[in-house]
Amino acid sequence: MASTTPGALPSLLEAGGDDQAPGFSLALDNFSGPFDLLLSLIAKRELDITEVSLSAVTDEFISYLHGLDSGGELDRASEFLVVAATLLDLKVAGLLPQGELVDEGDVALLEARDLLFARLLQYRAFKEAAAWFGEGLERESTRHARVVRLEERFRERTPELVWTLTAQDFAALAALAFAPREIPTVGLDHLHAPLVSIREQAAQVVALLRGGEPLTFRQLIAGIEQRGVVIARFLAVLELLRHAAISFEQVEPLGDLTLTWTAPQWSDESLATLGADYDA
C-alpha cells in the first residue's frame, strides 16, 4: 500500500503555491499562510491534520469566496473544494484511534489513511505537472513554424479529386456530422459514490445461503469489484447475524469466515425491515 515517507517527497511540493498568484490564505491558531503551504505541510506530515480546525479553514474560505470576482479565482475556489474534501477524509482517518495494530480493521484504517495521503500527493503532483504543461504551451505559442500555402506549381499537380457523392449523400453526411454524438449530461457520480442497498445485498446473501451449502465470505463476494458492494454485503451479513438468520465460524484469527444458513423460518418481510438502521 501507499507509504508516504517524508523523505520520499519531492522538492516540488515545497514550492507550494509560489508560482501562482496569491490565492486563498489562512490565519489559524497554529498556522498562517497560503492554503497551498498548509497542504504541503500536511502532506509532509509536518503539521498534524488533527490539529487543523477545518471549520476555521472553511470560515476563512467562505469569506475569501465573497471577495472573488474573476473566473480564474473561481477556478482556484473549486480546487479548494476538492482538496478540502480530501482533507476532511484525512482528518476523519487521523482522528480515529491509532496504537498497536491489533486487528484487520486498524490495518485497513491505516492503509486508508495512507491512500488519502497518496491522493493528496497525487493531486499536488498533477497540479505541478499542469504548471509544466501551461509553461510549455505558453512558450511554444509564440513560436512560428513554417506553414505556407503550397506554391502554385505544386497545387496544380495535386491529383484530381475523385468525387462520388451526390447531393443526397452529402446531406446524409451533414446529418451525421450534426447529430450529437452523445447526449450531454452532467455526471454526478463524482459527488456521491453510487448508492448500494444493504437490503438488496442481503437479498443476494439470502439467496446464496438459504437452503444451500455453507459459504465463506470470500465466496460471497467473489467477482465483486466495487468496494461499496463488498461493504454493503458485509453489513448485510452482520444484519442477518443480528436476526439470527445465519451463523458464522472462524477457525483461526484472520481466517476465512464460514457462513451457514440457520433461520428455521424466513420470510421476505423479514428482509424488508433489514438494514433499516442504515437508511438515511
Binding site: 503550397l150 506554391e151 505544386f154 491529383p159 451526390t166 446531406a171 453526411l173 451533414a174 446529418a175
Partner: protein, 205 residues
Amino acid sequence: MPEVMSEQAEVEAPGEPATRPVVADIERALEAILMVADEPLPLVSLATAIGAPVPAVRQSIERLVADYDGEDGGPRRGFELREVGGGWRLYVRPEHDAVVADLVLTQNPTRLSQAALETLAVIAYKQPISRGSIASIRAVNVDSVVRTLVGRGLITEAFTDPETGAIHYETTGLLLTQLGINSLDELPPISPLLPDGADGFDDLR
C-alpha cells in the same frame, strides 16, 4: 559574426542610432520573416517589418539570393529566394520539383477522408463558419482538415471577424459543381436536425 561587422559601414553612417539593425541582423530577420511568409512580400513591407531602411533591405535581399544560390562559398540550397509579382518569397528550387511533387501527391490522395467530407458538410450547411465553431460541432480539431479543403479549392476564406480575428470559411463553386447543383439553395434540407439546432449546437461548446 565578426567578419560582417566590417561591412556594416555600407549601411550605417557614423553616428547612426545604435539600435538600427546591422547588415547581418537584417539578413537573419529577413530569413525569419520569409520562412513564414505566405505571399511574396514587397521590399517596403519587409523594411517596415524589421524597421530598417529600404536600401539596406534591398541589399540584404540580394545577398541572401546569392547566399542561397551558393555564391558565397556555401551550398546551393534546396530553396531559392525569388522576386515574384513585386515581392520576395522562398520557393523550392526547380531541380527538386520532382521530389516535392511526389510528396505532395502522397499527401493529397485522390479521395477526401471521411473526416474531411464531414467537415466539408458542416461548412456547407453552416457557412460562413469559423474553425472554432466547426471544431465544436465536430468535437475534433479541424485545423489540418480545413487546410486540406482550402488546398483543394472546396472552401475559401469568406471574411475575418474584426473582433476575434477568426477566419470564417465558405464553400466554393467547385463544391457545387462536384455535387451537380447550381446553388447552395439546392442542398437537400437536413431538417429536422438542423432548423432550430443552429443555436443549440453552439451551446455545446
